[in-house]
């Protein structure tokens, strides 16, 4: 098929150079200062967390607490791993998060396809049903959920906890992915149909590969939902040997005998994975989340 090329757009005349007026420079300086200020506010608690991890307890628990590192406690993290079963806690959290993400990605793909591209009876009701499942925020649903899990003998069962997280993540994930699916041009899908793809094939070979941003956004949502949860984990997992990291670290709050630097070290270690994960994929996340919501 002959490809018609549009005549190259005429090179636009150079935009008139704005004089770098004093007002502009002054405005820029103010802007930079404010941006730095905002970054400081956003990051100060993180800085404090890291600082308190490596600072000897005597310095941290003094008044006034030093703003800059005074003394260096190299053994903070190793001591943490020796004193507390944090390694197994972290392993539990990772396991649960992985299961959640996998289940969510699979089901949200179906859900997004069902919500958007596929036309079928009952689509509206299905959409409303999914919406309804999102309407009960955590604390509202914890009681019946706990009773249900107890009756099925699923308490202290980490994979079933992951299944629960996935159940919460799938509706939201479906909506996010649906936006991404909608952004795939019709022409691409038409071509796929012409090439003889089944509707399932359309999903597998066209929609999913082209919606990477949306898939990443869904994975992030599912991962964070699982990694960060405290409420459901605390209700459903009571066996200390099966604690997830969030649960384990939360027990430090009421204990008196955990050294401060161990507390903060635990916080740092627990935060490493989600922060690194987010940094790696952040390009995709905003794109994936706003695929349908933002005009243009």
């Amino acid at each position: 098929m002959a490809v018609l090329t549009k005549p190259a757009a005429a090179v636009p005349a150079a935009a008139p150079r704005r004089r770098r007026s004093r007002r502009y420079v002054a405005g820029s300086v103010v802007r930079v200062v404010v941006i730095v200020a905002v970054c400081v506010v956003a990051l100060f608690p993180v800085y404090w967390m890291i600082l308190s991890t490596f600072q000897p307890e005597s310095k941290t628990l003094s008044f006034p607490p030093p703003l800059i590192l005074k003394g260096f406690n190299t053994g903070a993290i190793t001591q943490l791993f020796q004193d507390q079963p944090i390694a197994s806690w972290l392993a539990h959290s990772v396991l649960v998060a992985l299961i959640t993400v996998v289940i969510t990605l699979v089901l949200a793909s179906f859900g997004a396809y069902l919500l958007g591209r596929l036309q079928w009876h009952g689509k509206l009701i299905f959409g409303l049903l999914l919406l309804f499942t999102q309407m009960m925020p955590g604390a509202m649903i914890i009681v019946p959920e706990l009773q249900f899990y107890r009756s099925m003998g699923w308490t202290n069962n980490l994979p079933m906890l992951a299944v629960l997280y996935a159940a919460f993540a799938v509706p939201l994930g479906s909506w996010i992915l649906k936006s991404s699916f909608d952004n795939v041009p019709d022409s691409v899908l038409d071509a796929g149909l012409v090439d003889g793809l089944t509707r399932l094939g359309l999903l597998r070979r066209l929609l999913l590969p082209l919606s990477r941003a949306g898939l990443v956004a869904v994975a992030v949502v599912a991962f964070f939902l699982s990694w960060n949860d405290y409420l459901f984990a605390s209700a459903l997992i009571t066996n200390r040997a099966q604690y997830t990291a969030g649960l384990g670290i939360a027990t430090f709050i009421s204990q008196q005998d955990v050294p401060i630097f161990e507390l903060q070290a635990a916080g740092v270690v627990f935060s490493l994975l989600p922060v690194i994960f987010y940094m790696c994929v952040q390009r995709y996340v905003v794109r994936g989340l706003t695929a349908g919501a933002v005009k243009g």
Binding site: V32, F110, L114, L131, P137, I141, T290, G292, A293, V294
Partner: protein
């Protein structure tokens, strides 16, 4: 090319819809039953793990505390709830908390988005690190804020001592005056990056031509903002408002692990109250009744979300 496409899609008029593929047997398609096949795992999954407990929760709220599941339908939980002044205080706390968090997060988000809507070197770096509060799990945040706000060793108190007229032994999370603002600050700090980043996307989506045209027409910066930028981002802002509403309605760990709902009931939101009723007092039916109120509030929020989403979609197509 179009001829081939049209020939391949000879359905009854009305069955073919843009942006979706109708059910209807076609060549080697996997059959009309594909949607119904795909929907089964999802329905079963959500039905078992979410819908069934929700329905059970609704039913439990109508059972009396003493008789439990065997008892008959009763409104006793609700009458007790509506007559309880503590309940109304909890509702008040929840609504004020939610309103404050939503307003502050959206305002902060807009402010920061406008700040960042400027090409400068290192912008993506700043965007990245600004997202960290949101990416952090709740527990480490709680641990660190508890340390920072400690009445004896907290850095916040050191900052306070720098301000003339302020002392330096404030118990931020246990004081009856400071606890409520403290949880608001904590929640806003934790959540603002999400709203800032989405608003930034919306700002960047404002068509340059419109802004340029406005500038050429002599509109000043403020006028440009009011007449060009604001209308463009309003749908996004409304969406974010509803999301923020739900986010603050369901906040639990940040509040429970810092103030515990106290002192007294000063910072007890609906979520905290339900948790206490269920796990401290074991009043499962009463907790379910309170949960119904929460459900009611979030239905309103979600209905708003659907309404706004429809409007956005309609205005796009």
């Amino acid at each position: 090319m179009t001829q081939v496409l049209k020939a391949g899609r000879e359905h009854a008029p009305g069955q073919l819809r843009r942006r979706s593929f109708s059910v209807g047997p076609r060549r080697r398609t996997s059959g009309a039953w594909l949607p119904y096949l795909l929907v089964i795992p999802i329905l079963a999954f959500e039905g078992v793990f979410v819908l069934y407990p929700i329905v059970k929760g609704i039913l439990t709220s109508f059972k009396s505390q003493q008789l439990g599941a065997t008892g008959s339908f009763t409104f006793s939980n609700y009458s007790r709830m509506f007559a309880d002044p503590v309940f109304w205080q909890v509702v008040r706390v929840t609504l004020i908390f939610t309103a404050a968090v939503v307003v502050f997060m959206l305002v902060a988000g807009l402010f920061i988005a406008m700040l960042l809507n400027w090409s400068f070197r290192g912008r993506s770096f700043v965007r990245g690190i600004m997202a960290i509060p949101w990416a952090l799990p709740d527990i480490p945040v709680v641990l660190t804020f508890l340390l920072m706000a400690d009445p004896n060793f907290g850095i916040f108190n050191r900052f306070a001592s720098w301000i003339p007229g302020l002392g330096h032994h404030y118990a931020f999370f246990t004081s009856s005056t400071l606890a409520f603002p403290s949880i608001i600050v904590l929640t806003v700090w934790k959540g603002f990056p999400f709203y800032a980043l989405i608003t930034l996307s919306a700002l960047q989506a404002v068509p340059d031509e419109l802004l340029e045209a406005a500038r050429v027409d002599g509109a000043g910066a403020i006028r440009r903002f009011r007449s060009v930028v604001l209308p463009s981002i309003t749908p996004t802002l409304c969406l974010l408002a509803v999301l923020a509403f739900i986010f603050s309605l369901q906040q639990f760990s940040l509040i429970y692990l810092t103030t515990g709902g106290g002192p007294g009931n000063d910072t007890t939101t609906l979520s905290i109250d339900i948790y206490n009723q269920a796990f401290q007092f074991f009043n499962y039916s009463y907790a379910s009744a309170i949960a119904m109120v929460g459900l009611f509030l979030s239905i309103i929020g979600t209905a708003l979300f659907v309404y706004i989403e429809r409007r956005v979609v309609r205005s796009r197509s």
